[in-house]
């Protein structure tokens, strides 16, 4: 196999691994934002989920228990967001920010108190982590040129959460575009008054949307701490929640395009690692910082309306009051 193939496959492989939490968080944000609730708290929910997963997995030794704890904690934070924004009509950006800051402080404070390792959780091994799965026939086709390598190395050999993440995209699409719940969800993000007039509870719909966001952020957090890594490390979400938010906007609040945006941003990150210190033909060495900033720059350019137009759900950010 040529060197180019090897490099291409390993870079794409890295892209999939890096994109996974982005995809989960972007889909989480999609549920919340299509219902009209701004969610800049993706980062915080993912971080809290990561800590919960690692702590639970360290105590029980079971990765699935860890995943459950991550989802539970993340849903709690999502409900707090809902309590502030839906029930008490608070500012959604302020609430999301509070959740991010709270998660950043609480995970480390509790981590130090419970595990005495400077905010880290104990290293996990064995059943406490999600390990890579070989898809059926992966070994058998490994020798087939090109396609075999792609199947064995690129598609097979990831952990369960990666496959779950990629599954959430069609599931999200189906839920949002093909079900009654999805129709109402989109309607409540565009015109809550109309939904209310039809006798459907705006509050309950929006609560369900933030719970969906909580579940997905929890899975993303578990992926970070018990699948991709073997413990919780302080601030391990490292802005991924914000990149996912950027990808969601870049994907114009639609599942398929958001997935592509996540893969693009993931690819940029994988490429950054790959290109570290390597001069490119014609342009020379690209600074790693420029590559890191590219997702944000692209999103700003998109928001500025220079490459297409990102139109947000109409009622986004506006608390709904029934009276008047």
């Amino acid at each position: 196999m040529s060197d180019f193939m090897l490099i291409a496959i390993s870079t794409l492989d890295a892209t999939i691994r890096v994109s996974t939490p982005l995809i989960l968080c972007a889909m989480a944000g999609l549920f919340s934002e299509r219902s009209g609730i701004v969610d800049i708290g993706l980062e915080g929910k993912m971080l809290a989920g990561a800590f919960a997963a690692a702590a639970m997995a360290a105590v029980t030794g079971s990765a699935w228990m860890g995943l459950g704890a991550a989802i539970g904690v993340s849903i709690c934070m999502a409900l707090l967001h809902g309590f502030a924004c839906i029930t008490h009509k608070g500012n959604q950006v302020v609430s999301g920010l509070a959740i991010n800051i709270l998660a950043s402080g609480l995970t480390v404070t509790l981590g130090i108190a419970w595990f005495h390792q400077g905010g880290q959780t104990p290293l996990l091994s064995g059943d406490a982590r999600f390990f890579s799965i070989d898809l059926p026939g992966a070994l058998a086709v490994a020798d087939v040129p090109v396609l075999g390598a792609i199947y064995t190395q690129l598609i097979s050999g990831h952990n369960a959460l990666v496959y779950i993440a990629f599954m959430t995209v069609p599931v999200t699409w189906w839920l949002v575009y093909q079900t009654r719940f999805g129709l109402r969800l989109r309607a409540v993000g565009e015109n809550p008054q109309a939904v209310d007039t039809a006798g459907i509870s705006v509050f309950w719909l929006r609560y369900r949307a933030v719970i969906c966001a909580g579940i997905l952020c929890g899975i993303a957090g578990a992926y970070l701490s018990i699948a991709q890594n073997a413990s919780f490390i302080r601030e391990m979400s490292a802005g991924k929640g914000y990149i996912a938010l950027a990808a969601l906007i870049f994907g114009k609040w639609r599942p398929k395009t958001a997935l592509l945006a996540c893969l693009l941003f993931g690819f940029l990150e994988a490429l950054t690692v790959r290109l570290e210190g390597v001069p490119l033909p014609l342009i020379g060495e690209v600074p790693a910082q420029l590559m890191q900033a590219t997702p944000y720059i692209l999103t700003v350019v998109l928001l500025a309306g220079f490459i297409g137009k990102a139109i947000a759900p109409k009622a986004i950010g506006i608390p709904y009051s029934k009276e008047r």
Binding site: H88, Y242, I249
Partner: protein, 371 residues
């Protein structure tokens, strides 16, 4: 509307106070949860922040940063804009301050340099706020999202500059060269020494005076100028502002630039004062604390000074607390900060109906007694 039922002192005094107390109460539960005594923690924090001269110096030094970032958030908030980008604007502003100081520090002492440093910092901070502001006003992209993005872009840019351009040749740590001693702002210790008063050594410097001047200027701007009126009108009702002939787009851009320039003044306190050089990540979250400060201080300079003092005390007291109680770190202060933002910001309307009911009951009882 039910706005009129509550007197002002309850609306701007009692309700924020109750919200802060709720935030502290929950923080107390967090301390209990990690197996320490909240009362003991409070004691350590208060002694750490106000108990001795050096502690007070540190408290006021932290407060200085928070006044700047708090004012930055508040000015934008009055125009209905939520500037989350204080962190990035302060970071880039500090770059402006640092560049100006480094290019002129061999020619002039601090008192001649400070107008240039302030101008450079303000220009850099305003420029960093200008792009999101322009995009909000003229291209319809939301300032919250763009300022978040600009925080990350600022962080990447500064890492690049500090590692590749500004780094002192022959050193490994990503920081600029140290500014000449004569160009660094005098510390409060030196200022008091001139008057023959000896105070403890701390990073507190005369940037505190600049912070207080900024408070007065912001107060004058918002409530005593035509521009301030336009800003508040946009925040209150943008449509009405348009119909009354205010150029809302231009005002939005100007407001955000003022906000960015205020955040950049953190650079005066840190780069030209306490640190004497441009450091990696020197803002250290002050931009985000500014949001908590502004929310708690109800976007008014007086409230912001009080809230800044409280947060300065939390930072310094938190450092002291983590020193005394090993199982608690300064991350606890981050938790408290998050809770303050939650209760004073997102849940600020939560207790209002209850207070309203209580007040009406009390008030009605008094009324009938008078009859």
């Amino acid at each position: 509307m039910s706005n009129k039922t509550l007197p002002t002192w309850i609306d701007v005094g009692v309700i924020p106070l109750i919200n802060v107390c709720l935030a502290f109460l929950v923080s107390g539960f967090v301390i209990l949860l990690i197996g320490e005594s909240p009362l003991e923690a409070v004691q350590y924090m208060i002694t750490g922040a106000f108990g001795y001269a050096e502690g007070i110096g540190y408290t006021l030094y932290y407060s200085t940063n928070f006044i700047f970032t708090g004012l930055a958030v508040a000015v934008a908030f009055h125009a209905g804009l939520f500037n989350i980008g204080g962190e990035g604007q302060a970071y880039i502003g500090g770059l402006g301050v640092g560049l100006m100081c480094m290019s002129l520090d061999s020619f002039m002492p601090w008192w001649a340099l400070i107008p240039f440093a302030i101008a450079a910092g303000a220009a850099f901070g305003a420029a960093w706020a200008f792009i999101p502001a322009y995009l909000q006003a003229y291209r319809g992209s939301h300032v919250v999202i763009t300022t978040i993005m600009f925080n990350f872009i600022a962080s990447a840019l500064m890492v690049y500059l500090l590692v590749n351009v500004l780094i002192e040749p022959g050193t490994m740590s990503p920081q600029s060269r140290v500014i000449a001693d004569a160009a660094i702002l005098p510390s409060m210790k030196d200022v008091f020494a001139v008057f023959g008063v000896n105070i403890a050594n701390s990073p507190l410097n005369i940037a505190l005076f600049l912070a207080l001047i900024c408070c007065v200027l912001v107060w004058l701007l918002l409530w005593h100028t035509r521009l301030g009126y336009a800003i508040r009108m946009i925040g209150f009702n943008e449509q009405a502002a348009v119909y009354s002939g205010i150029n809302t787009r231009r005002t939005i851009v100007i407001t955000m630039c003022i906000s960015g320039a205020l955040a950049a003044m953190v650079g005066i306190n840190e780069v030209m004062g306490a640190q004497g050089r441009v450091l990696l990540d020197y803002v250290a979250g002050a931009g985000f604390t500014g949001i908590a400060v502004s929310l708690m201080g109800r976007n008014h300079p007086v409230g912001i000074i009080i809230a800044s003092l409280l947060f300065g005390a939390l930072y310094q007291g938190g450092a002291e607390l983590s020193f005394e109680v090993p199982s608690i770190t300064r991350d606890l202060v981050v938790v408290i900060q998050g809770l303050v933002i939650l209760f004073c910001g997102a849940l600020s309307l939560m207790i209002k109906p209850t207070i309203e009911k209580l007040f009406m009951k009390f008030f009605a009882a008094k009324e009938s007694a008078n009859v």
